[in-house]
Amino acid sequence: MSSDKMDADKTIGGVPSPLRRKLLLGMAALPAVALLPRGALAQALPTDAVNTTKLAVTDGTVKVGILHSTTGTMAISETGSVQAEKLAIAQINEMGGVLGRKIEVIQEDGASDWPTFAEKARKLLVEDKVAAVFGCWTSASRKAVLPVFEQYNGMLYYPTFYEGLEQSKNVIYTGQEATQQILAGLDWVSNEKKAKTFFLIGSDYIWPRTSNKIARKHIEMHGQKVVGEEYFPLGHTQFNSVINKIKLTKPDVIYASVVGGSNVAFYKQLKAAGIDLNKQTLMTISVTEDEMLGIGGENIAGAYACMKYFQSLKNPNNEKFVAAFKKMWGGESVIGDVTQAAYLGPWLWKLTAEKAKSFDIDKIAAASPGIEFTGAPEGYVRIHENHHLWSKTRVGRARTDGQFDMVYETADLIEPNPFPKGYQ
């Protein structure tokens, strides 16, 4: 499933060939073409035809929901996602909207509280009858809204990389599931750094535990060794004891999935304890450009992060995306992995609706597999049968200025595998 498109994509990171430039220019012109027959399109697709299930669709507009925390402890992380989704929607509207209809956004605040997420999801689906919802960030919030989306048959585009072990007709997962993110990075660090021993450290909840379970299996399958595995409560701020343990066991690689405020404390204390990340290899799956703001580049420079997207990626899509993002939200803004994944949501939905020629949830769900998005900042992506995305995995090295240098990317798109056999 991965041949022709992939070849066109291989130039990412290098200088684009002239042919590729032309192709891209052509692609950029496509929306302009789509603009012309807009009135005709809306007439060709009357509201009765594109909306048979009483969604909030009129001749000129279609309503969608954005459901993230803009208050409470998760606002730190979710703000970027809201911004990316609004940017994508603004861009789509500029091109004439979806099926000739402008997108109207109804934004709700999940307030970092999982029951609130469920309640707001119900409101968006039952009262507002939105055609799609872009939202949620933590797995806990997704688990809280999932029954609501299944009961009232809604469509959720979920942006965060997460632990997998889930698949639903009513959700499109635009971030990576755990095996996509983890395995390629571990293989790279084993080859590149000749790593034999690993120390796993994470916050104590489902995502780090599941991720480390997968990592441990993979490490042990390759004859390498896990010399320590530690979890700390969310919000833990004192890491000196575990840092001593790391010094005692001298692992080749520290594999970190610490999140939130703990993250900042962990890296500051590592540095203060004299562990130089230019000599000690550290690979993290939980630090993006967003987290770097709080940690401070000087405290984490030299560490490797395993993600599918970095703001510093060099390709024309990404350069356009970063420029547009900064124009809309200020030159100081940074874009992390999840922010980019959130940006994909509205685009994938638009492409799916146009393929299905309908806003009906069942038709969108059925039409989703196989949808390709060539304009993604991370490069070409495609929706898999299991509603996750085929995407590349990349390793970046943290710089003092809060950005990453990409040091590796997988040659092929990696197949999403939310229920990995042998890893559970």
């Binding site: 701020t237 004192q238 203060a272 004299g274 703001l293 940690i295 580049g297």
Partner: protein, 308 residues
């Protein structure tokens, strides 16, 4: 877990581990001193204590930005200026809060719990509106980063030493103020018998205001110091509040010595168990131990002996 390590290696690890416990101890004392004054001496349950700390952290952040752009020559020493400003800012806000809210609630301790919890939510949202929802990075002067190598294998983090020094200094100052000055005598008199203290001519309202301000100011200094080891964001204060109350209540709410003893017990227990067990288990065991001891000794480790 110790197979394959030489005695020297083990020795140095235990030395560093002991030091890690001491750093944790200093952090706990610094967190709890302000609250011990407010909760222990005044009986006010201040749920917004963490937010007063974060105010200090944000003052440090502003100070580091301001000095690095306008007076870069002062940068190596900016941390001291920042701590002084943090004390003033948090202390002033504390006095304002006392005047506007707390003084109406002295006879209703449970209501102060709700009121200050509300205050903490308000302050969090103010931080979020002013500084943004994301965490900010506080740049430290170079001399505060890194570690001192005592031997080849024993390394001591400099910011840990700094926190320890600061804790000792503040503890000594608090002791002098509370037990060696006229003003401290007034504070203790008001705490022990408000009516009688008023009758002998102490201005109890003024004493209350300054005591609350002092407690909040110390919280500000603590917050400023914690930018070295922790995060600075609108909700970071929440990370500290549970541990802070734990230390103060376990120590016996009215005794400053108790606070220090309890910080020592909890920090050593936690850091030792974290080393031999895992992080989450250590926390669970620490909390269990505290619960059991408080069941046997509900008044805490130390009690002030007063005639009732």
């Amino acid at each position: 877990m110790f197979e394959g390590y030489s005695l020297a290696e083990l020795g140095s690890i235990f030395a560093m581990q002991g030091f890690a416990g001491l750093i944790l101890f200093s952090v706990f004392v610094l967190m709890a001193l302000g609250l011990a004054i407010i909760f222990g001496q005044m009986g006010v349950i201040n749920m917004a204590h963490g937010e007063f700390m974060i105010l200090g952290a944000y003052v440090t952040y502003l100070c580091s930005n301001f000095i690095s752009s306008y007076a870069p020559a002062l940068f190596p020493a900016y941390f001291f200026i920042a701590m002084a400003l943090a004390f003033v800012a948090s202390g002033a806000l504390g006095m304002l809060v006392e005047w506007g809210m707390i003084r109406f609630l002295y006879r209703r301790p449970l209501d102060t719990l709700l009121a200050t919890w509300g205050l903490s939510l308000i302050l969090q949202q103010v931080f979020r509106s002013v500084f943004g929802a994301r965490e900010v990075g506080v740049v430290l002067p170079d001399w505060l980063m890194g570690s001192v190598a005592v031997t080849d294998t024993i390394e001591v983090p400099i910011n840990g030493l700094f926190v320890m020094g600061l804790t000792i200094a503040i503890t000594v100052v608090i002791y002098a103020v509370m037990f060696r000055s006229r003003w401290g005598q007034g504070v203790r008199a008001v705490m022990q018998n408000r009516v009688m203290a008023g009758a002998v001519g102490i201005n109890t309202e003024k004493v209350d205001r300054y005591t609350f301000g002092l407690g909040c100011g110390i919280a500000g200094v603590a917050g400023s110091a914690f930018t070295m080891v922790g995060s600075t964001g609108p909700t970071s204060g929440q990370l500290y509040i549970v541990d802070t109350f734990l230390v103060v209540v376990f120590g016996g709410a009215q005794s400053l010595i108790g606070t220090i003893a309890s910080a020592f017990t909890i920090s050593q227990a936690q850091s030792t168990m974290e080393f031999f067990l895992s992080g989450s288990t250590a926390k669970v065991l620490t909390l269990l131990t505290v619960v059991v001891i408080l069941m046997l000794r509900p008044q805490g480790l130390f009690v002030l002996k007063v005639r009732r």
